[in-house]
């Protein structure tokens, strides 16, 4: 009996119970034996009564409809009541089956919605982070060289303060000599690989001097460094002729400036595409 109770609680309504009973008969809705179905339905209602369950009004209404259908079926065909003006469409048997078929379809549709619902619980929409532009990540023409340039400035300042040239200037090359040499080189060969600059270097010091010279040329906007890809080799090209720019005095407080405030190599010295 407790079995019944569980089952009754899961029926959404009389149509749901009827579909369950039809399923138990293992027939198509159109082929169901309505007389038998009516009997079974009423039996269930009786059980519900016996269990003192709260029976929704819809179940009772359906029960009476079914009893009416059953009573008509039980009469011999020639004695069946032909209700005055009753069209075929109004046949209560057809009306019930139509309702059942329709309800069954929506019940199936609901099951499909439920599948979609649970699938969606596992679908995550990509919420992109604030876009990262690769161009900004690499921008080697600005960032790295500005940084090294800064080192250059510092080193020179310290050296000046100490009033003597230290290790880096002791070699046969001075930075200014190297600058001249590089300027000549870039004049004869429009595009140089970064590594080519250092090919002739005979000492570590010369490498540093060459590097500083290159930085100085960048700063003087004589040459431009470009990098075709993130980790590709840096290339050096001659900068486009332009009006010389004077660095603006920047107050210590103005840490970050708008790019309009300070000319940067990327803006003022576009690299000719090739």
């Amino acid at each position: 009996m407790s079995d019944y109770k569980v089952k009754f609680e899961v029926f959404e309504g009389p149509l749901d119970l009827l579909l369950y009973l039809i399923k138990k008969q293992e027939v198509d809705i159109y082929e169901v034996n309505l007389t038998q179905l009516a009997s079974q339905f009423i039996e269930y209602i009786e059980v519900m009564r016996m269990l003192d369950l709260d029976i929704a009004g819809e179940f009772l209404v359906m029960a009476s409809t079914l009893m009416y259908i059953k009573s008509r079926e039980l009469l011999p065909v020639d004695q069946q009541v032909q209700v005055e003006g009753e069209e075929d469409e109004d046949d209560p048997r057809w009306e019930l089956i139509r309702q059942l078929v329709e309800y069954k379809k929506f019940k199936d549709a609901a099951a499909q919605l439920q599948q979609l619902e649970s699938r969606q619980e596992h679908v995550y929409r990509r919420e992109a982070p604030k876009p990262v532009f690769e161009a900004e990540l690499q921008k080697p023409d600005v960032s790295i060289f500005d940084l090294i340039n800064a080192v250059n400035t510092i080193l020179k300042r310290v050296t000046d303060r100490e009033g003597e040239a230290r290790e880096i200037y002791e070699d046969k090359w001075s930075v200014s000599e190297k600058i001249e040499m590089l300027a000549k080189l870039i004049g004869s060969k429009p595009r140089l690989k970064f590594s080519e600059l250092f090919e002739g270097a005979t000492s570590r010091t010369e490498v540093v001097v060459t590097f500083l010279a290159m930085l100085e040329l960048i700063r003087m906007r004589q040459i431009v460094c470009v990098q075709s890809d993130h980790f590709a080799e840096i290339e050096i090209t001659k900068a486009e002729p332009q009006t010389p720019t004077v660095p603006t005095e920047i107050p210590e407080q103005a840490i970050f400036e708008d790019e309009t405030a300070k000319p940067v190599p990327s803006e003022s010295g576009p690299t000719p595409a090739n």
Binding site: M62, D90, E102, R126, A128
Partner: protein, 227 residues
């Protein structure tokens, strides 16, 4: 550069789903800001839509862990459901509304396929009252009032919302499962009751008519006197 790749990069970078209108706006803005982006300045909605469909198709067969979908006509990248355990481990538990009950799903299905529909009409299909369920669906924003039926009493009619499509991950109402069959009512009566094969999926066209507002709700009991 192909339009579909451009659209892909934009969807990929978006923080929320984008409509064709949004995307055309981006194409226009880009063209105005950057000379090199001029080519697709005036891409038509049809062109954008078909590029998106081609793109979604490509991603669909790529075997990657994500794909492109359109939900409520707004395009977006989503991860495939089978990767949910890891994505969840990364982003944490999402606040997702509780699952819908069986009565709510049935009611929602009827409204979705038969909209606009009155409450009485839904009740007639389900055979039970739907007061509480309808209230829940309204509160969750899955359905909304869309008008009134031109019948006695001018009852409210209901339909589904964009939230409904989003909740189930559907592009449009046309994407509802078996939409054609279910949306256009009436159930065809077989020639001879109890003997004919149902074959409802192939109901003849003349029987596929829009839901008539005249379908005045009538409880089954009213149709016949009690014996």
């Amino acid at each position: 550069m192909e339009l579909k790749n451009i659209l892909e990069s934009v969807l990929f970078s978006a923080q929320e789903p984008l409509s064709v209108k949004d995307l055309r706006e981006v194409l226009k803005t880009a063209a105005e800001q950057s000379p090199e982006a001029a080519e697709f300045k005036k891409a038509s909605p049809e062109l954008v839509t078909s590029a998106l469909e081609a793109l979604a198709q490509e991603h669909g067969v790529s075997g990657r862990s994500y794909r492109i979908v359109s939900v409520a006509e707004r395009w977006q990248f989503v991860t495939q459901p089978e990767y949910a355990p890891w994505v969840k481990a990364l982003v944490g538990e999402r606040a997702r509304p509780t699952r819908l009950s069986q009565p709510a799903l049935e009611t929602l299905a009827i409204i979705a396929y038969r909209q606009p529909i009155t409450r009485a009409e839904v009740e007639q299909v389900r055979g039970v009252a739907i007061d509480g369920v309808l209230q829940t669906l309204l509160e969750r924003g899955l359905v909304e009032q869309v008008g009134v039926a031109e019948v006695i009493g001018r009852p409210k009619t209901y339909g589904t919302t964009a939230t409904f499509l989003e909740y189930f991950g559907l592009r449009a109402l046309e994407d509802l499962p078996a939409a054609d069959e279910l949306r256009r009512i009436p159930v065809a009566k077989p020639e001879a009751l109890l003997t004919v094969d149902p074959g409802l999926a192939t109901a003849p066209p003349e029987q596929l008519q829009p839901a008539p507002a005249e379908a005045a709700p009538q409880a089954p009991a009213e149709a016949q006197p009690n014996p």
